[in-house]
Symmetry: C2
Subunit: 127 residues, 2 copies
DNA sequence: GGTATTAGTTTCCTTAAAGAAACTACTTTC
DNA sequence: GAAAGTAGTTTCTTTAAGGAAACTAATACC
């Protein structure tokens, strides 16, 4: 057996690893998936509605996360000319393309729980 | 228009949000995807090989992340009875089910970069 | 004028994540 | 016996993430 200097430098691999890094950097943190998930469900939500909908988040975090998502063109922020001034957040077309990722992640989480339960291997994690 | 007390408590939604939270907790951190990706590519890797393959990781981090992944039954650790003692890491069947998620994430990252480039909107992030 | 609602920002603080370097312990080779 | 390779662990330090509470500023209602 010949010993080869392994390392995934083989053309497409680096692009792939970079792409994964990109995606995860954009979706990093405790709240992004929850916020995006809520906006997929409700189409449009105002700041206060998001604050109530995304369970446990504080105003500072929400504000910061929304700015991040807007910077990356995943959501759109619209100031409405209403009496006490309201702001609407919604997914952009680009943001909506995250659907399949979120679906896969949700799907995996559900079947993972099931396999844990079936094996009933002294469920350490996921209580 | 009737105002309803929105909040995604509608049966399946909570399970979905919980499932997403589960998955992201398991795959949290800077390195998990990279480690899993490497093990998908090479089947079996020893500690030192992973240390060289996963670019930038330190021994402490690698050790910790491998323990996390093993606890969650995503990888298997096998001590080989060799001369200077080697340890082999590989994905379990369960770990291999992460394939579709990683594929979706990689796919999204690649097309996201492309749309950024096409729009050429003063590329702030992703340099 | 006092209270409430909107959408945040600011300040202060705690905890978690990550990294660098040194160290253990065993074996093999020179 | 010194050097190098195996697989980690320990210690110490820095940085990033996250949270609670108070605060701003505009408008509306009573």
């Amino acid at each position: 057996m010949k010993k080869e200097a392994l390392s995934s430098s083989s053309s497409g691999c680096k692009t792939r690893i970079l792409a994964i890094k990109d995606t995860m950097e954009i979706l990093t943190g405790k709240w992004k998936f929850h916020i995006i998930g809520s906006l997929m469900l409700f189409e449009k939500l105002r700041f206060m509605e998001l604050l109530r909908e995304v369970d446990g988040i504080g105003a500072k975090m929400l504000s910061k996360e929304l700015q991040d998502l807007e910077m990356n063109h995943l959501i759109r922020r619209t100031v409405l000319n209403t009496k006490p001034l309201t702001v609407e957040y919604e997914l952009t077309d680009c943001g909506r393309t995250l659907g399949p990722i979120i679906d896969e992640i949700a799907k995996w989480g559900i079947t993972y729980r099931k396999t844990l339960y079936h094996k009933s291997e002294t469920s350490e994690s996921l209580v």
